[in-house]
Amino acid sequence: MSFSELAIILLSTVLVNNFVLAQFLGLCPFMGVSNKLESAIGMAGATTFVMTLASICTYLVDTWILAPLDLQFLRTISFILVIAAVVQFVKMFMEKTSPLLYRVLGVFLPLITVNCAVLGVALLNTQKAHNFFESTMYGFGGALGFSMVLVLFSAMRERLAVADVPVPFKGAAIGMITAGLMALAFMGFGGLVNLQ
Protein backbone atom coordinates (compact mmCIF):
# COMPACT_ATOMS: atom_id res chain seq x y z
CA MET A 1 0.00 0.00 0.00
CA SER A 2 1.85 3.04 -1.15
CA PHE A 3 1.41 6.54 0.12
CA SER A 4 0.20 7.83 -3.24
CA GLU A 5 -2.67 5.36 -3.31
CA LEU A 6 -3.81 6.54 0.10
CA ALA A 7 -3.56 10.14 -1.07
CA ILE A 8 -5.69 9.30 -4.09
CA ILE A 9 -8.34 7.71 -1.87
CA LEU A 10 -8.35 10.84 0.29
CA LEU A 11 -8.67 13.16 -2.70
CA SER A 12 -11.36 11.04 -4.29
CA THR A 13 -13.53 10.83 -1.19
CA VAL A 14 -13.18 14.50 -0.32
CA LEU A 15 -13.75 16.01 -3.74
CA VAL A 16 -14.81 13.57 -6.44
CA ASN A 17 -16.99 10.98 -4.71
CA ASN A 18 -18.11 13.32 -1.99
CA PHE A 19 -20.42 11.48 0.36
CA VAL A 20 -23.05 14.17 0.42
CA LEU A 21 -22.98 15.68 -3.02
CA ALA A 22 -22.06 12.68 -5.19
CA GLN A 23 -23.35 9.69 -3.20
CA PHE A 24 -26.21 11.43 -1.39
CA LEU A 25 -25.43 10.00 2.01
CA GLY A 26 -25.89 11.93 5.25
CA LEU A 27 -28.35 14.36 3.72
CA CYS A 28 -30.32 14.70 6.95
CA PRO A 29 -27.58 16.42 8.99
CA PHE A 30 -26.56 18.24 5.81
CA MET A 31 -29.95 19.98 5.67
CA GLY A 32 -30.70 19.81 9.38
CA VAL A 33 -27.72 21.33 11.16
CA SER A 34 -26.49 23.67 8.46
CA ASN A 35 -28.53 26.65 9.62
CA LYS A 36 -25.74 27.99 11.75
CA LEU A 37 -22.02 27.88 11.11
CA GLU A 38 -21.17 27.08 14.72
CA SER A 39 -23.36 24.00 14.99
CA ALA A 40 -22.21 22.88 11.54
CA ILE A 41 -18.59 22.98 12.70
CA GLY A 42 -19.52 21.02 15.83
CA MET A 43 -21.33 18.40 13.78
CA ALA A 44 -18.45 18.22 11.31
CA GLY A 45 -15.94 17.59 14.09
CA ALA A 46 -18.03 14.90 15.74
CA THR A 47 -18.77 13.16 12.45
CA THR A 48 -15.12 13.11 11.40
CA PHE A 49 -14.19 11.54 14.69
CA VAL A 50 -16.90 8.89 14.66
CA MET A 51 -16.67 8.02 10.96
CA THR A 52 -12.95 7.33 11.14
CA LEU A 53 -13.31 5.25 14.27
CA ALA A 54 -16.38 3.43 12.96
CA SER A 55 -14.70 2.48 9.68
CA ILE A 56 -11.78 1.01 11.65
CA CYS A 57 -14.06 -0.94 14.00
CA THR A 58 -16.37 -2.23 11.30
CA TYR A 59 -13.38 -3.34 9.26
CA LEU A 60 -12.09 -5.32 12.23
CA VAL A 61 -15.46 -6.88 12.95
CA ASP A 62 -15.97 -7.77 9.30
CA THR A 63 -12.52 -9.27 8.80
CA TRP A 64 -12.06 -11.08 12.07
CA ILE A 65 -15.59 -12.17 12.97
CA LEU A 66 -17.98 -12.12 10.04
CA ALA A 67 -15.72 -13.28 7.20
CA PRO A 68 -14.21 -16.36 8.95
CA LEU A 69 -17.66 -17.55 9.98
CA ASP A 70 -19.09 -16.89 6.53
CA LEU A 71 -21.68 -14.53 7.95
CA GLN A 72 -21.41 -11.60 5.52
CA PHE A 73 -25.21 -11.37 5.38
CA LEU A 74 -25.09 -10.03 8.94
CA ARG A 75 -23.04 -7.00 7.89
CA THR A 76 -25.73 -4.34 8.07
CA ILE A 77 -27.11 -5.26 11.46
CA SER A 78 -23.75 -5.91 13.09
CA PHE A 79 -22.32 -2.67 11.67
CA ILE A 80 -25.22 -0.76 13.16
CA LEU A 81 -24.46 -2.44 16.48
CA VAL A 82 -20.78 -1.54 16.20
CA ILE A 83 -21.51 2.08 15.29
CA ALA A 84 -23.98 2.53 18.14
CA ALA A 85 -21.52 1.06 20.62
CA VAL A 86 -18.63 3.15 19.29
CA VAL A 87 -20.63 6.37 19.46
CA GLN A 88 -21.76 5.62 23.00
CA PHE A 89 -18.24 4.76 24.08
CA VAL A 90 -16.80 7.89 22.49
CA LYS A 91 -19.46 9.95 24.24
CA MET A 92 -18.57 8.56 27.66
CA PHE A 93 -14.84 8.81 27.02
CA MET A 94 -15.12 12.41 25.84
CA GLU A 95 -17.34 13.43 28.73
CA LYS A 96 -14.65 12.28 31.11
CA THR A 97 -11.49 13.39 29.33
CA SER A 98 -12.53 16.55 27.50
CA PRO A 99 -15.66 18.16 28.93
CA LEU A 100 -15.15 21.24 26.77
CA LEU A 101 -15.22 19.32 23.49
CA TYR A 102 -18.12 17.30 24.89
CA ARG A 103 -20.11 20.45 25.51
CA VAL A 104 -19.28 21.84 22.07
CA LEU A 105 -20.41 18.68 20.28
CA GLY A 106 -23.37 18.30 22.61
CA VAL A 107 -26.39 16.64 21.07
CA PHE A 108 -24.66 16.01 17.75
CA LEU A 109 -22.59 13.18 19.11
CA PRO A 110 -25.47 10.76 19.77
CA LEU A 111 -27.19 11.99 16.59
CA ILE A 112 -24.37 10.54 14.50
CA THR A 113 -25.48 7.03 15.41
CA VAL A 114 -28.26 7.37 12.88
CA ASN A 115 -26.21 9.19 10.27
CA CYS A 116 -26.39 7.05 7.17
CA ALA A 117 -23.01 8.27 5.95
CA VAL A 118 -21.38 6.37 8.82
CA LEU A 119 -23.11 3.12 7.92
CA GLY A 120 -22.53 3.94 4.26
CA VAL A 121 -18.78 4.22 4.68
CA ALA A 122 -18.67 0.87 6.50
CA LEU A 123 -20.68 -0.93 3.83
CA LEU A 124 -18.79 0.70 0.95
CA ASN A 125 -15.53 -0.39 2.55
CA THR A 126 -16.57 -4.03 2.41
CA GLN A 127 -18.05 -3.61 -1.07
CA LYS A 128 -14.80 -2.20 -2.42
CA ALA A 129 -12.76 -4.82 -0.50
CA HIS A 130 -10.51 -2.22 1.10
CA ASN A 131 -7.72 -3.31 3.41
CA PHE A 132 -7.21 -1.82 6.87
CA PHE A 133 -5.38 1.36 5.85
CA GLU A 134 -7.58 1.95 2.86
CA SER A 135 -10.67 1.58 5.06
CA THR A 136 -9.34 4.04 7.59
CA MET A 137 -8.40 6.53 4.91
CA TYR A 138 -11.73 6.07 3.16
CA GLY A 139 -13.62 6.77 6.38
CA PHE A 140 -11.46 9.75 7.26
CA GLY A 141 -11.62 11.17 3.74
CA GLY A 142 -15.36 10.71 3.54
CA ALA A 143 -15.79 12.47 6.86
CA LEU A 144 -13.49 15.27 5.75
CA GLY A 145 -15.53 15.72 2.58
CA PHE A 146 -18.74 15.72 4.61
CA SER A 147 -17.32 18.31 7.00
CA MET A 148 -16.12 20.56 4.20
CA VAL A 149 -19.43 20.50 2.36
CA LEU A 150 -21.40 20.97 5.58
CA VAL A 151 -19.36 23.99 6.65
CA LEU A 152 -19.45 25.57 3.18
CA PHE A 153 -23.18 24.99 2.91
CA SER A 154 -23.91 26.45 6.34
CA ALA A 155 -21.86 29.53 5.46
CA MET A 156 -24.00 29.92 2.37
CA ARG A 157 -27.21 29.43 4.32
CA GLU A 158 -26.22 32.10 6.78
CA ARG A 159 -25.94 34.49 3.86
CA LEU A 160 -29.21 33.21 2.40
CA ALA A 161 -31.02 33.91 5.65
CA VAL A 162 -30.62 37.64 5.10
CA ALA A 163 -30.86 37.58 1.32
CA ASP A 164 -33.93 38.83 -0.53
CA VAL A 165 -35.34 35.46 -1.59
CA PRO A 166 -38.69 35.36 -3.43
CA VAL A 167 -41.44 34.24 -1.06
CA PRO A 168 -42.15 30.80 -2.64
CA PHE A 169 -38.47 29.89 -2.35
CA LYS A 170 -37.95 30.98 1.26
CA GLY A 171 -36.56 28.58 3.85
CA ALA A 172 -35.93 24.95 2.99
CA ALA A 173 -36.73 25.41 -0.71
CA ILE A 174 -33.83 27.73 -1.42
CA GLY A 175 -31.66 25.44 0.73
CA MET A 176 -32.48 22.50 -1.54
CA ILE A 177 -31.76 24.57 -4.64
CA THR A 178 -28.45 25.70 -3.18
CA ALA A 179 -27.53 22.12 -2.35
CA GLY A 180 -28.37 21.09 -5.91
CA LEU A 181 -26.22 23.85 -7.38
CA MET A 182 -23.41 22.85 -5.04
CA ALA A 183 -23.67 19.25 -6.23
CA LEU A 184 -23.53 20.49 -9.83
CA ALA A 185 -20.42 22.49 -9.03
CA PHE A 186 -18.80 19.47 -7.42
CA MET A 187 -19.46 17.46 -10.58
CA GLY A 188 -16.66 19.57 -12.01
CA PHE A 189 -14.24 17.45 -10.01
CA GLY A 190 -15.42 14.31 -11.80
CA GLY A 191 -12.58 12.68 -13.73
CA LEU A 192 -9.96 14.34 -11.58
CA VAL A 193 -9.08 10.97 -10.10
CA ASN A 194 -10.06 7.60 -11.47
CA LEU A 195 -10.45 4.89 -8.89
CA GLN A 196 -10.49 1.30 -10.16
Partner: protein, 221 residues
Amino acid sequence: MIDLILHNPVVTALLVLGGLSAAFGAVLGFAAVKFKVEGDPLVDRIDALLPQTQCGQCGHPGCRPYAQAISDGEPINKCPPGGQATINALADLLDVTAPSLDAEHGEHLDVKRVAYIREDECIGCTKCIQACPMDAILGAAKHMHTVIVDECTGCDLCVEPCPVDCIDMIPLKPDLQTWQWSLPATNQSPVFHVVASEVNLIASDRQAKPEPVERDGNKAA
Protein backbone atom coordinates in the same frame (compact mmCIF):
# COMPACT_ATOMS: atom_id res chain seq x y z
CA MET B 1 -22.99 -29.29 19.63
CA ILE B 2 -20.05 -27.77 17.77
CA ASP B 3 -21.27 -29.57 14.69
CA LEU B 4 -24.67 -27.96 15.07
CA ILE B 5 -23.14 -24.51 15.43
CA LEU B 6 -20.82 -24.86 12.47
CA HIS B 7 -23.40 -26.30 10.11
CA ASN B 8 -26.35 -24.21 11.04
CA PRO B 9 -25.88 -20.61 9.90
CA VAL B 10 -28.91 -19.42 11.85
CA VAL B 11 -27.46 -20.64 15.12
CA THR B 12 -24.06 -19.18 14.25
CA ALA B 13 -25.65 -15.87 13.33
CA LEU B 14 -27.56 -15.75 16.58
CA LEU B 15 -24.48 -16.64 18.57
CA VAL B 16 -22.32 -14.07 16.80
CA LEU B 17 -24.84 -11.26 17.19
CA GLY B 18 -25.52 -12.23 20.79
CA GLY B 19 -21.80 -12.41 21.47
CA LEU B 20 -21.16 -9.05 19.85
CA SER B 21 -23.98 -7.43 21.81
CA ALA B 22 -22.77 -8.98 25.05
CA ALA B 23 -19.20 -7.86 24.35
CA PHE B 24 -20.22 -4.29 23.52
CA GLY B 25 -22.58 -4.26 26.47
CA ALA B 26 -19.75 -5.34 28.74
CA VAL B 27 -17.40 -2.70 27.31
CA LEU B 28 -20.02 0.03 27.66
CA GLY B 29 -20.93 -1.09 31.15
CA PHE B 30 -17.28 -1.02 32.11
CA ALA B 31 -16.85 2.40 30.50
CA ALA B 32 -19.89 3.73 32.34
CA VAL B 33 -18.24 2.83 35.63
CA LYS B 34 -14.72 3.80 34.63
CA PHE B 35 -15.58 7.13 33.02
CA LYS B 36 -18.24 8.15 35.48
CA VAL B 37 -18.46 11.92 35.65
CA GLU B 38 -19.19 13.59 38.91
CA GLY B 39 -20.63 17.01 38.30
CA ASP B 40 -19.71 19.76 40.70
CA PRO B 41 -22.06 18.92 43.59
CA LEU B 42 -21.59 22.29 45.23
CA VAL B 43 -22.97 24.19 42.23
CA ASP B 44 -26.05 21.95 42.23
CA ARG B 45 -26.65 22.56 45.91
CA ILE B 46 -26.21 26.32 45.57
CA ASP B 47 -28.51 26.28 42.57
CA ALA B 48 -31.14 24.44 44.60
CA LEU B 49 -31.15 27.24 47.16
CA LEU B 50 -31.53 30.05 44.63
CA PRO B 51 -35.13 31.05 43.83
CA GLN B 52 -34.97 30.09 40.12
CA THR B 53 -36.59 33.27 38.92
CA GLN B 54 -33.89 33.57 36.23
CA CYS B 55 -34.28 37.33 36.61
CA GLY B 56 -30.67 38.29 36.08
CA GLN B 57 -30.67 40.97 38.75
CA CYS B 58 -27.42 39.55 40.12
CA GLY B 59 -25.72 40.37 36.82
CA HIS B 60 -25.64 36.76 35.61
CA PRO B 61 -27.86 35.38 32.86
CA GLY B 62 -29.71 33.06 35.23
CA CYS B 63 -29.67 31.30 38.57
CA ARG B 64 -27.36 28.48 37.51
CA PRO B 65 -24.58 30.80 36.25
CA TYR B 66 -24.84 32.73 39.52
CA ALA B 67 -24.54 29.45 41.44
CA GLN B 68 -21.41 28.71 39.41
CA ALA B 69 -20.07 32.18 40.19
CA ILE B 70 -20.77 31.76 43.92
CA SER B 71 -18.84 28.53 43.97
CA ASP B 72 -16.00 30.42 42.28
CA GLY B 73 -16.02 32.95 45.09
CA GLU B 74 -18.56 35.65 44.26
CA PRO B 75 -20.46 37.38 47.09
CA ILE B 76 -23.67 35.61 48.04
CA ASN B 77 -25.76 38.73 48.65
CA LYS B 78 -26.73 39.60 45.08
CA CYS B 79 -30.12 37.88 44.89
CA PRO B 80 -33.01 40.27 45.61
CA PRO B 81 -35.84 37.79 44.86
CA GLY B 82 -34.43 35.35 47.37
CA GLY B 83 -33.91 38.00 50.00
CA GLN B 84 -32.29 37.47 53.34
CA ALA B 85 -33.64 33.92 53.67
CA THR B 86 -31.68 32.78 50.62
CA ILE B 87 -28.57 34.60 51.79
CA ASN B 88 -28.79 32.92 55.18
CA ALA B 89 -29.29 29.52 53.58
CA LEU B 90 -26.30 30.08 51.30
CA ALA B 91 -24.19 31.26 54.22
CA ASP B 92 -25.22 28.14 56.09
CA LEU B 93 -24.24 25.94 53.18
CA LEU B 94 -20.92 27.66 52.53
CA ASP B 95 -20.14 28.12 56.21
CA VAL B 96 -19.60 31.87 56.05
CA THR B 97 -21.23 34.71 57.95
CA ALA B 98 -24.39 35.93 56.27
CA PRO B 99 -24.04 39.42 54.78
CA SER B 100 -27.08 41.61 54.25
CA LEU B 101 -28.59 42.01 50.80
CA ASP B 102 -26.56 44.17 48.43
CA ALA B 103 -28.99 47.02 47.66
CA GLU B 104 -27.23 47.71 44.37
CA HIS B 105 -29.02 44.77 42.77
CA GLY B 106 -32.51 45.56 44.00
CA GLU B 107 -34.75 45.18 47.00
CA HIS B 108 -36.44 42.13 48.32
CA LEU B 109 -40.23 42.16 48.39
CA ASP B 110 -42.12 39.68 50.46
CA VAL B 111 -45.19 39.51 48.29
CA LYS B 112 -45.04 37.67 44.99
CA ARG B 113 -45.72 40.14 42.24
CA VAL B 114 -46.49 39.79 38.57
CA ALA B 115 -46.15 42.20 35.72
CA TYR B 116 -49.37 43.63 34.33
CA ILE B 117 -49.53 45.47 31.02
CA ARG B 118 -52.11 48.24 30.77
CA GLU B 119 -53.30 47.07 27.43
CA ASP B 120 -54.89 50.35 26.28
CA GLU B 121 -51.54 52.06 26.47
CA CYS B 122 -49.40 49.31 24.95
CA ILE B 123 -48.01 50.39 21.56
CA GLY B 124 -46.74 46.93 20.61
CA CYS B 125 -43.03 47.72 20.53
CA THR B 126 -41.97 44.17 21.66
CA LYS B 127 -39.23 45.64 23.89
CA CYS B 128 -40.61 43.98 27.02
CA ILE B 129 -40.81 40.65 25.19
CA GLN B 130 -37.11 40.81 24.47
CA ALA B 131 -36.35 41.70 28.07
CA CYS B 132 -38.36 38.86 29.60
CA PRO B 133 -36.10 36.01 30.72
CA MET B 134 -39.03 33.61 31.12
CA ASP B 135 -40.79 34.18 27.76
CA ALA B 136 -43.83 35.12 29.80
CA ILE B 137 -44.96 38.01 27.59
CA LEU B 138 -47.07 37.28 24.58
CA GLY B 139 -47.54 39.63 21.65
CA ALA B 140 -46.29 40.72 18.26
CA ALA B 141 -45.01 43.91 16.70
CA LYS B 142 -47.70 46.63 16.67
CA HIS B 143 -50.10 44.37 18.51
CA MET B 144 -51.01 44.56 22.15
CA HIS B 145 -48.88 42.46 24.51
CA THR B 146 -49.98 40.62 27.56
CA VAL B 147 -48.35 38.72 30.40
CA ILE B 148 -48.86 35.03 31.10
CA VAL B 149 -49.35 35.22 34.83
CA ASP B 150 -48.31 31.64 35.54
CA GLU B 151 -44.97 32.13 33.81
CA CYS B 152 -44.14 35.53 35.28
CA THR B 153 -41.60 35.45 38.09
CA GLY B 154 -41.99 39.11 38.98
CA CYS B 155 -38.41 40.03 38.18
CA ASP B 156 -39.10 43.66 37.09
CA LEU B 157 -36.90 43.37 34.00
CA CYS B 158 -39.71 44.33 31.61
CA VAL B 159 -40.58 47.55 33.44
CA GLU B 160 -37.43 49.41 32.51
CA PRO B 161 -37.45 48.94 28.71
CA CYS B 162 -41.12 49.94 28.24
CA PRO B 163 -41.12 53.29 26.38
CA VAL B 164 -44.66 54.25 27.45
CA ASP B 165 -44.41 52.97 31.05
CA CYS B 166 -47.51 50.85 30.76
CA ILE B 167 -46.25 47.93 32.86
CA ASP B 168 -47.21 47.73 36.51
CA MET B 169 -45.93 45.26 39.02
CA ILE B 170 -48.96 44.21 40.98
CA PRO B 171 -48.90 41.99 44.06
CA LEU B 172 -50.45 38.62 43.40
CA LYS B 173 -53.41 37.91 45.63
CA PRO B 174 -53.40 34.38 46.99
CA ASP B 175 -56.08 32.27 45.34
CA LEU B 176 -57.23 28.72 46.01
CA GLN B 177 -54.08 27.32 44.49
CA THR B 178 -51.50 29.54 46.12
CA TRP B 179 -53.03 30.20 49.51
CA GLN B 180 -51.27 28.51 52.39
CA TRP B 181 -51.97 28.08 56.02
CA SER B 182 -49.88 30.43 57.99
CA LEU B 183 -48.20 27.90 60.17
CA PRO B 184 -47.35 28.69 63.73
CA ALA B 185 -43.80 29.86 63.88
CA THR B 186 -41.35 27.40 65.35
CA ASN B 187 -37.67 27.05 65.86
CA GLN B 188 -37.69 23.66 64.18
CA SER B 189 -36.17 23.07 60.82
CA PRO B 190 -38.73 23.94 58.15
CA VAL B 191 -41.16 21.10 57.62
CA PHE B 192 -43.48 22.71 55.11
CA HIS B 193 -40.94 24.89 53.35
CA VAL B 194 -42.10 27.91 55.22
CA VAL B 195 -39.78 30.49 56.60
CA ALA B 196 -40.33 30.40 60.31
CA SER B 197 -39.37 33.15 62.63
CA GLU B 198 -37.57 32.51 65.84
CA VAL B 199 -40.33 31.94 68.30
CA ASN B 200 -40.13 29.03 70.63
CA LEU B 201 -43.34 27.08 70.85
CA ILE B 202 -41.83 24.64 73.28
CA ALA B 203 -39.54 25.85 75.97
CA SER B 204 -36.04 24.81 75.18
CA ASP B 205 -32.66 25.93 76.30
CA ARG B 206 -31.17 25.09 72.93
CA GLN B 207 -30.15 28.11 70.93
CA ALA B 208 -32.46 28.60 68.01
CA LYS B 209 -30.83 28.03 64.66
CA PRO B 210 -29.98 31.23 62.72
CA GLU B 211 -32.90 31.37 60.38
CA PRO B 212 -34.23 28.17 58.93
CA VAL B 213 -33.52 27.47 55.36
CA GLU B 214 -36.09 28.07 52.71
CA ARG B 215 -35.69 25.55 49.98
CA ASP B 216 -38.36 25.79 47.37
CA GLY B 217 -38.22 29.46 46.62
CA ASN B 218 -41.86 29.71 45.57
CA LYS B 219 -42.71 32.00 48.36
CA ALA B 220 -39.77 34.28 48.09
CA ALA B 221 -40.00 34.72 44.33
